[in-house]
Symmetry: C2
Subunit: 192 residues, 2 copies
């Protein structure tokens, strides 16, 4: 039986039944996306990385014979998205969010990030949001243009789970990678 | 007379003479590229950002009624490049380096970054290095494939300034933006 590099057990039930497993049992969405990105890179499918967390550095000590040490720093709000890269020559850019609610609240995403996605799409890039509904153990890819339209024009400040099941694209979960979001990208944006 | 947003004086001589000014008088290459990126974004030409510096966070304090404070952190080596984004639907990825020498030493670029550029190009992205020769006040765009080939195969562990003047693309310097590297990208990669 194949286990994950991080030692997590794979789910044998879904394999044996032969059905596609869509239940979201990931340890964390970020971890699953990072593992998928590692898999895509090592399988030579795509080059997608998480951007480092922006830190405002206030004070650095330079001890003798040791590495520079940051002794005062603060987390900064990200003005763009978490992930970007290249797949089949296309620019890919997305944000990943988890919610325990029955809806995706717009407070989960910052106006700067919506504006960033808008710019990306305007310049021919592929922009989207990956949303994990932990309550339903499901993960969806939601197209950026759709999200932007809702964010800017909807009188209700969230998108319901029901709506995302209809308008989003359910990401299948399996072995390797556990969360194969590139398959959704391929289906939505590549098959013309 | 138009001054730079950061208060730097523009160079009137090059304007009056009507000649294209290629002398590199930037305060710093990074600053000039950041200003160019701001200009490209506000002019709706491209969406290119500098990635945040990767920081290894070791200890964080959570003071009451105040933002989380990083009290121990270290700079990490970047495994990818400094900049990426999208231009006319194409994925753009590059590293920027300054040298005071008469050559570009390969010690200025890390093997991980060369490997990253190789992957980018393999997946249809545009990858390059921008090199500022402070001695000559000139900035060149050097194609990623060319750099990778030299890095991996050349017995000499640098590329001479002379060679880069022949194989690189001289970036013109002007008003707005001061360092218009996208013009070089357009000329090299877009005009088919």
């Amino acid at each position: 039986m194949v286990n994950y590099p991080n030692g997590r057990k794979a789910n044998p039930a879904s394999k044996q039944s032969g059905k596609i497993n869509t239940a979201y049992r990931g340890m964390s969405l970020e971890e699953d996306i990072n593992l998928a990105n590692q898999f895509y890179l090592s399988s030579n499918l795509a080059v997608i990385h998480k951007k480092p967390t922006p830190i405002q550095i206030v004070k650095v000590d330079y001890p003798k014979r040791a590495a520079a040490k940051i002794v005062e720093g603060y987390f900064q709000r990200r003005s763009t998205t978490d992930y970007n890269g290249v797949y089949k020559g296309r620019y890919i850019d997305f944000e990943a969010k988890e919610t325990q609610k029955d809806a995706f609240p717009f407070t989960n995403i910052h106006p700067h990030q919506i504006e960033h996605l808008r710019q990306i799409i305007e310049h021919g890039g592929i922009g989207f949001i990956i949303i994990a509904f932990t309550r339903y153990d499901e993960v969806y890819l939601v197209d950026g243009s759709y999200m932007i339209d809702k964010y800017l024009n909807s009188p209700i400040k969230h998108i319901t789970y029901q709506e995302i099941t209809e308008k989003g694209f359910l990401i299948t979960q399996g072995y390797q990678p556990r969360l194969d979001y590139l398959k959704a990208v391929e289906a939505i944006y590549m098959e013309v």
